[in-house]
Symmetry: D2
């Protein structure tokens, strides 16, 4: 019996980057959290502590800041591609570079005289994300996404006709509150790395929201599929959509002990446990990525 | 030497309440986190475990849900007054009731056909707050507030001319990024509990934002005072403003090792440590509240 | 009507300090989170942005690191006294300095050959705390404490005989799980700043735990008082104990729908809402601190 | 072009379960967080909202509580196997069930008279974990693990001889603090589901700690490999070990501006960014699991 090194990667996580771009008195911001992971010929450091192949994670951090100055940030998918390509092409042992970027939103303050030129407030809780995977001699993989987007329909949601066993006590309902915190990631078609990322993101986000709002839901799974399907129907540049949708239960409070009715008016939003619905919607026949993403 | 019970209070914390109000197909939401604390003649339970004076915290929770149905929620200051008065008037041993409410924001989704009637997204990270203190035989105290409001000026902020000692290394600056997460609470004039809370909150929030944006800042303390002063100048119903402003440092990255300049373009937003500026701005001569709030 | 500056303070929060002390091959660690707040003659910076009285918060941070080297850290009460005195005595405008320190625990790893000389694991979740308040021309105030200490009695707790109203549904119980996360702070007698802080902390912690375990509880309030009383009976150096005890409800799961009984065996530990019991136990006649602590 | 459903699963997440077992006056506790995910023939609910194949997540939650009573909890790997097998065998559409369990630690309080029979304190921050995957007509997969285990060596760690490029500024070091928060998961040999889980966990944990402490480290990667290798050398029941080791940088504070030296005594533990080292160590030739775990 012998022992060996299996899959491995290393990098710098959570490099916080904030940039200000000036157009005269009017400023633009970007506010990012960048994480890098490299894999390749890194056996030696594991087996003997020989670091000759190891580009320090501190250098990776420095690269993020230097590239922000040298190239600007722009759209996070493009910035991720720039960074990931750099590591694969400039550092020989790197077979694959993954760059994950979260972008925090800021909105310009409105003042009596109009939009403030250099004053902003954080928006949220929603965060825009991008993950870029560059592998030597392979097509780039670009995955855009969104997380922390909390959506709720106060009607138009049912849940009944489900399977039961001896542990089932849930009553059927034809009208419930449906709430979730959307984590969505969508993989772009292989070979397309010149997408108008801004428009692609904005439109995909819009379709996700519209599908959530417009789907009369018999299950959160049905809503999930409708959201993914809508994106694929509307955005030709996207190959696949993955959604993680916790079911944030809003439980009807029993007011009968107080002589009161409760016609879907008063709810207790519970923290735990929660349902968790995960699924992928994809184009038939599109080449799968062999990457667990 | 003898031992005695000093200040004490008890209650239910973090009662999550979500309500849906219907105006035909169009729904309105409220999403609250309510905490209650009662003080009064509660020595017996501490000294002997005699609970005859103790209204269970579970009952306090039930009261929140029942009142939401019986009276509606409306503005959180009004709902807090209703709850706090109830405990002081209905439960004899209660000398004082404090009700703290946090309100989470939801925005109606926009669809191609217009505003969605019953679909919403959480806004934030900002939270609206209210604290109401009802004391037997005393004026009610109403404190409105806001927390989690992250603001940033990308220029118009300086810091120089400060005191130094042998441990000082900070360079002076005439142009820095100024960022903070505003926690603001403002106490309403005593005896005014019929305020238009919605307008009062919206306008106070607007003045805080405008003062932050419009103040050319020589220190975060100066900005703090300007924010409080503006509110008091503009809103006669408010007696006092308390602000807690962490200074979220955005540190300029040194790009010289890479042969690059950095003209206030590339920053590292640091998490810890942070400056912390706290202060009260008040009307001269207004009766102080004897409550630590 | 005029407007004025009320209470205010400023400082550096969350200065993380980690030190290694060597006794030959055997190392000792301290791992602290230090926060400083100064108040005094700081009107000018608020009103005009004149910073001549302002010792930068960056300097306060530097002082923490320099003092760790110059004086060592030792017990956190002593380190807090050293820092707080420094600011009041060395920086004229400072009338009062508050230093809050949280200390994270580390345990030496056990190896086959015995205790590891320089390898450690974090303990917790419990954290030791100290707050020191030095005011010009006044006695120092030293408050030791503990937070994050989660305790549970699986029997020996009852709750009945409580007040009821039309919103009460809670059943009485003579056997429940009692769980809480202890936040305790104890103020030392004025004028005692040469205490053996290590022993004082260890013994106070031990008495809190023993009182929790040994009190047959008719209410969490009764347990709170018993914990504070025990400390004051046993530790002459302590004037006052403040306890904040959330009641972490462990709700009995109703298994009857599955044809099963539940004799205090299977529980659901709920997150929210929770009861919150707060109280002070003090020596009769001891001079009160006029500080809200 | 057509659109289809890809990988999907659903279940109940974060079912909190607390049990008390009595042996006379002496009690034993278990405190778990259980998450369940089912995959199989669940297309219909996604495509049409037909829920006939869907066992509600609420039923899954109920099953956790009922099984705790009917079978007891015991070791979390065994409880996970019981639950996962139940869903695959009792609910036809379920092709695969994954059960993830986190177990929180409690220590018996020590009293003057000895160990308390029913009083406990939470330990931590470390958490024991298990993941069980039961797939119809396949061997069970059992993965034990640990998370939140924070380890530190105050010497015996070097980092030098690394690759450099134009963005490298990191100095080499022959003596640094090495700190990490261990997330380790180890897959048991296929077909072994009658392991003495308690002993297996305790011994594996011990070997991880000893390898961390005893490895003179030239890189965190080397330490990672040594930890995995030691486990495989010592525990025949384990096929593969996966480790995620953030490098929690402890940065030496520059005290020279204050005329002070710093001989590895005073550090600033930084939060972000951090290095992140991930790797698998496995037995050569052991059948790989085709599951992304």
């Amino acid at each position: 019996m012998s022992i060996e090194l299996g899959d491995n990667r290393y990098g710098k996580a959570e490099v916080r980057l904030f940039t200000v771009t000036r157009d005269g008195a009017r400023h633009e911001l970007t506010d990012l959290n960048v994480s890098i992971a490299l894999s390749g010929e890194f056996e030696a450091t594991h087996l003997t502590g020989d670091n000759a192949q190891v580009l320090p994670t501190d250098t990776q951090k420095n690269t993020v800041y230097a590239f922000a100055k040298e190239h600007g940030v722009g759209q996070i998918e493009a910035f991720g591609l720039l960074l990931a390509r750099h590591f694969v092409t400039s550092h020989g042992p790197t077979r694959q570079a993954r760059v994950h970027i979260a972008e925090y939103g800021w909105a310009r303050l409105q003042l009596p005289a109009g939009a403030a030129p250099h004053s902003f407030a954080r928006t949220g809780p929603e965060v825009r994300t991008a993950e870029v995977i560059i592998t030597r001699d392979a097509d780039p993989v670009v995955i855009s996404g969104i997380s922390g987007l909390v959506l709720l329909n106060s009607t138009g949601s049912e849940f009944h006709g489900f399977a039961t066993d001896r542990y089932t006590t849930l009553p059927e309902t034809t009208d419930r509150v449906l709430a979730t915190e959307v984590s969505a990631r969508w993989r772009h078609q292989p070979g397309r790395d010149q997408v108008d990322w801004r428009t692609s993101f904005d439109e995909t986000r819009r379709h996700l929201l519209e599908a959530f709002a417009e789907t009369h839901s018999l299950s959160l799974q049905q809503t999930l599929y409708a959201m993914g399907e809508r994106v694929l129907q509307q955005r030709a540049e996207i190959a696949e959509v993955r959604l993680v949708l916790p079911n944030r239960h809003h439980l009807l409070v029993d007011l009968r002990p107080f002589g009161l009715s409760n016609d879907n008016e008063v709810f207790y939003p519970s923290d735990r446990p929660h349902g968790l619905i995960e699924g992928t919607v994809r184009r038939t026949g599109v080449a799968e990525s062999d990457l667990a993403w």
